[in-house]
Structure formats: C-alpha cells, structure tokens
Symmetry: C2
Subunit: 411 residues, 2 copies
C-alpha cells in the first residue's frame, strides 16, 4: 500500500464529464489498496472568467480580494470531484486550502507555503477516505485567503506530498511525460522514463513547460518523488523525476534538447574594457525591470570590448531605449540588436563526468553550416544562440547526434 498524491490541472477537470473521468481514475488507485490525496485546479476557463469579472470592476484588482475571488475556482472543483467520487460509491471529503490548513505568508497572488497541517488528512486517509484538496490556495496567519500564483496547484501537490511523506506525487497533464525534445520539431523524440530534478529545472526554465518550475524546486528541496503523466491516457507510466540519479538503469550523457524562440540579442560595441563596465550596462537594465538571460563579454583588443546579452523579445524595445540614454555615458561606439535568434540547449547530468560534450555539439552544428553566435554553459547544460531560421534543423541534428531517439542515448 502506497500513499499517493495526484494533481489534476484545469483541462483534466474542464467539464462534468472530465471530472467523472478523473474520479474513475482516482478511485482505481484506492480500489488497488492505495491511499490517495487529490489536488485539483479550477475548471479550465474559470480563472480567466473570474479575472475578467474583477477587471470589469477594478482595472488593477485589489490583491487581497482577487485571492478571495480566484480561490472560489478550485473550491468549486473539489466539491464537484468529491461528489463524483461519492457517486461511484467511494468515501471522499473536500478541503479548501484554509480547511487543510495550508499556511502561507501574506504575499497575496504569489504567496509561499510555510507549513501544512496534515492531521485532518491523515485521519481521513486512515478511515478510508479519498482526500480532495483545492490547489493554488492557502491561508495566512491571520486567516486571510491567499493564492500561490498561476500554476500553483503543482506546488500544492508537491507540498502535500512532502507534508504527508507520500510515496509519490503524480502530476496529471495533457502531455504524457517529459520528452527528449518537442515531438512537433523532432518526430522521433522519445518520452523519458526518468529525468533528474536538476535536468528538469534546466528543461523547464529553457522552455519545456510541463511543470511549474517552482514545484520542481520544491520537490527537489523535500526530495519528493514526482511523476508527470497524461490525464487522458489510460495506461502509461509517464516520466519519473527523481532527486537521486540511481533510478536510471542506463545513464545517458544527454537527457534532452530544449529550445526557446522568445529571446532577442543586444550587443554594445566598443566599450572600455575596465572593471565595472558590466554593472554600468546591466544596472540600468535591471532598474528598468528587464530580465536578462545570457550574458557574454569578449576579451577585447585595444582596451575595448563588446558586451552581449539576451532579453525577452517583448523587452527589446525597452532595453534599447535604456541603452540609447546610456550610450554616451559608457562611451560605446554602437548598440546593435537582433530579434531573429533562438537558443538551443543540450541538458544532461551525464556531462558532468564526460569531457568533450561541448565540442561534440559544436561539431554537429558546424557540419550543417550552422553558425554559433553565443555560447553559455552550466554544469549540466550547454546553450547556444543561433539564427532563428536554423532552429528546427539544429534541434534535429543534435537529437540524432546524441542518439536520443534510442533509449540510453549516447553513453
């Protein structure tokens, strides 16, 4: 007998029919002898409907009252799912965030979980109940309703699993797991049976939007076994996300290839190569609330250097405005930009123990005539910026070069 926490997103509970399907799936785990805690989101469309209502009243809705409003979405789902479970003849009981007591700080709209009281849930589980908990919401020390921000239901699932020391936290989504890369770009992309938390964090932040990155961090912190599964497919074991690397039979060097089309590149040419220049450029950018991703500074000749960084495409205009005001002050000869770029990254904990992965990657790209504009590396990731038009070609080439279509990959 295992204790399993399952989380179902808005699409999975988007209609009475789908809620009944979720109830059937949940009840089978209970019938198999497991204890089950279910976390649900608001029915798809509901959160947007509520936000729209709020905006009709107040253009920038009051944060406290917005949480009171939005939390009704998940509250409705827990009631409906509990009804569906009871209709199947199972014992079920719903809990709002406040009823569980999911204690958070008082940062409305983006609260952080501080503590979870597992007493009532434990008592219910021991008495054979399926426990149904509203995701995304909590309560602060003064009894105010809080929400964790969009996607917070994943975090609720992981936090409950941690509080209950559950054997596994299963996140049901509309994809059946984490893939070596986007199957729309590479048809041979393969579902990974196992991926490590670190790899998942790199994959998520690089654009594989399977899980909320915060919930993955949370799972890593509390060593919660996480599994991503499809809520629409009956069978399938999804992808297990582990903290330890032990659970992989075969250790591939590279787990997957992530990519991102949302960035633009800015280069400040001919600035004096002296201490403090990076701060002089990026300080005003940060003050303008513009997120910077990759940063490259080349060693310069003649005491001058070129400074390049990437920002989200939607921020490019703002970034150029800031640099335009700054240009004389930092004695830059020119500021140029390019928004027809993309970022491609190979990710894998295996590269820690293998040398030559970067050069292998660069050769594979060079063989296809793809020019690399920027390079950035971390312990388990190598990212390159290339011309946007080569994105699909680069991802396909790398997927094949690292043999990702075959289990085990390049070992």
């Amino acid at each position: 007998m295992a204790l399993i926490v399952q989380k179902y997103g808005g699409t999975s509970v988007g209609s009475p029919e789908r809620i009944r399907n979720v109830a059937k799936r949940v009840s089978r785990f209970q019938a198999d002898g497991h204890q089950v805690v279910v976390v649900v989101s608001a029915m798809s469309g509901e959160t947007n409907r509520l936000v729209d209502l709020a905006r009709q009243i107040q253009s920038s809705p009051d944060p406290r009252e917005l949480d009171v409003l939005l939390s009704t979405g998940e509250q409705a789902t827990i009631a409906l799912l509990s009804m569906a479970l009871k209709d199947l003849g199972f014992k079920a009981r719903s809990y709002t965030g406040s009823q569980v007591r999911i204690l958070t700080d008082n940062a409305y709209n983006k609260a952080r979980i501080l503590d979870i009281d597992n007493g009532a849930m434990r008592r219910d589980l021991e008495q054979g109940y399926i426990v149904v908990v509203a995701g995304f919401q909590g309560v602060d020390g003064e009894g105010n309703i809080t929400t964790l921000g969009r996607g917070g239901s994943d975090t609720t699932g992981v936090a409950l699993a941690a509080a209950l020391q559950a054997d596994e936290c299963q996140i049901y989504t509309d994809v059946d797991g984490v893939y070596t890369t986007d199957p729309r770009v590479v048809p041979e992309a393969r579902r990974l049976k196992v991926i490590t938390f670190e790899e998942m964090l790199e994959m998520a932040s690089l654009g594989s939007k399977v899980l909320q990155i915060r919930s993955v961090e949370f799972a890593g912190k509390y060593r919660v076994r996480l599994r991503v599964l499809s809520s629409f497919e009956e069978s399938g074991e999804g992808t297990l996300i582990t903290y330890e690397d032990d659970e992989r039979m075969e250790q591939a060097i590279i787990s997957g290839i992530a990519f991102n089309r949302d960035e633009a590149k800015v280069t400040v040419l001919g600035v004096p190569d002296k201490p403090g220049i990076a701060y002089q450029i990026l300080g005003p950018i940060a003050e303008a609330n513009i997120d910077v991703d990759m940063i490259i500074q080349n060693v310069g000749a003649d005491g001058l250097t070129d400074f390049t960084f990437t920002v989200h495409k939607s921020e490019l205009g703002n970034a150029l405005k800031v640099l335009g005001q700054l240009r004389n002050q930092i004695s830059a000869s020119e500021v140029i930009s390019d928004d027809r770029i993309c970022k491609v990254s190979v990710v894998g904990v295996g590269m820690r123990s293998h040398v030559g992965i970067a050069s292998f990657m660069f050769k594979a790209l060079a063989d296809e005539g793809i020019n690399i504009q920027m390079i950035s590396t971390s312990e388990i990731k190598i990212s390159v910026v290339i011309d946007e038009k080569y994105l699909e070609l680069a991802v396909r080439v790398l997927h094949r070069a690292f043999n990702l279509q075959n289990e085990g990959g390049l070992t």
Copy 2:
C-alpha cells in the same frame, strides 16, 4: 453615527455594473458618518448555475459538498464588491462566513446559526473599514462549510445586526417596501411605512414574499429593527418592520390584505363525530409528508360530521390517494375536492383591540355576492377561502372597505 447592516440580494449584485451601484450606495452611508456592514448574495443566476453543475455529476448532490460548492457564489460577490468599494477610494474588507466566524450547526443545506464572532468586524469598523460579509453561509464546529438554505442571506443580515447590536438592518430588494396588498391586483395599494413583526410574519406566510420568513422570526427574537428598501431607487424610506408597535403614528386596525392561489380544498363527508377522527384523517396525511394549512370540522348532526382541510395544489393528488385508501376505515360517505379556490386574509395587530372586524369583513364580501367556503382566524388575522374567480374582486373590495388606500386606514 449609526451602525447599519445592509443586505443586497442576487438581483442587486447581478452584474459588475450593479455591483458598482451598490458600492456607491454603501459608500454614501459611510460618507455620512455611519458604520456599515454589507451582506451580499451570489450574483443572480450563479446559484442555479452551480446547482446545475452539481446535478450533472450527482443526481442528488452530496449535502456537504453542495455547500462547499454553493458557498463560492457569495464568496465571489464579497470580493467583487470590496474591489468596487476600494475603487471608489473607501477602505473595505471581505469576510466569508468562516472568516467572520458565523458558527452554525452541521445541518448542511439548511444550517442554523448558533453564534457569531463580532470581534474582527468591530475592529475593522472602528478602523473605518466597510465590512463586506458573504450571506447564506457559515461554518460548523469542525470547520465544515455550511449554508443556511435559499434566502439565507436575509437571515445572515439580521443575525449580524443582532450580533453587532446594529441600529438597523436594511434589506435591499427589487421592491421598495411592503404594500397593503399586491399593487398588480389593487392599483391603489399603498406602501406601508411601518409594519409589526407579527403582521409581517402573517403577510409573509400568506404569500407576500418580500422577506424570508425565517429572517423575520430571527429579527423578532433579537428585536432587530428591520427595514425593506428598493436597491434600484435612490430615495425612499421603504418599510420599517418593528418589534414594538410604538413607532406607528396612526394605528390602523388592518395593515394589509394577503392572498394565495396555491391551495386546494379537500372535504371528507359523513364521518363519525367522535374523538380521534381528526387524527385518523390527518395522521396518514402527515405520514405522506403532505403539509396541511387550514382545518375545519363542522359540528355534525346524526352523529356524523364533515371534515375539511386545505393542502398545496401540487399535493392534492397525493392527499386524495391517501384518503381513498382510508375511506372505508374511517367510514366516510364521500371525499370531494376543489382546486379552484383561493385564500384571502386581512392582517392587522389593531384587530386585537377592536371587535367586529370579522363581521365587517364578511359583510363586505356578502355585499358583492361572494360566498365564503371556509373561515380561519388568529389573533391578528382573518382568512377566508372563496371561489378562485372572485380573488381580485374580494381583495379590491376589502382594500376599499378597510380604507387601506389612505394612510391610517380604518381607525
């Protein structure tokens, strides 16, 4: 400075536009120096939408989970109204039933209020906040969400007024007060400035559906000054409902004329006139869960009597079925029924100190050739059952006879 509790129903908060209008009205009371607690219902249509969702999942929705679901309706409204108040520049804070702490028993769907914690509301009021409370809902001793049943928002308003010892509880509806009778039947019908609780109870149970009868009982018990007002008219003092009779300048004998077309009459002819016969007939009717309103037993001749009672029209078939099975057992000669009847009642605390009101009423009806089929009286009410076709005529005749079109009426 007064402390006022205001309650706005679903129609009054049925759209963002209407919620903004309620906010304007509420804020004027605050601007005038009063302390205001606002109780709101779910937006019109929302409760039906939620019930419909529940029924798509479970034909007879689980009572506990139905309350979890339905309580989201009012929760959304308190958030939206608080936003509207803040948008106008006022301080406001919303409370769910659980947050106030409106403690109820655990009778889901029809819970009764046991206690209200006024601490947080008092603190907020003293700090200049407008307090916005979800009607219709509470929490039981174990933290389960409960609802008071349909119309329960009126009861919440009255209960909060009692708990806060408010100067007045104002119920805003789509009518501008309590009338001497239905203006659709008698165009000269006049809004009453004052009506007593006892009269209001008689008027409500007789079909004047301005206020939930439970809230009126509650107000009487705790001596809460209640006022019914229109939420769509800017001015107007509505109708004040008082416990004491002192507030009326002129004491009319009759306050109003109520009527009801929903009943049917059943007569059991020729039963033995002996002790226990009423129970022998009405016992099986009660067991079949059929509500009986008026009951008349005539003194009989030859040791036989006729026994007549009224039931809701929708229950007539059931009642006749029960009596059919019973007929031989009680030795009745015949069972006859009539569903083309109506009940007309004159109501007024003044009749306590005046004799001859009944005969005055009967004469007015006789003058128009209206035959009275049944009579029933209480201390402040006289009801007659007549042929349905005379309903409008009877109400108009009585309205004129008691001079109700003029303030003061028949004194």
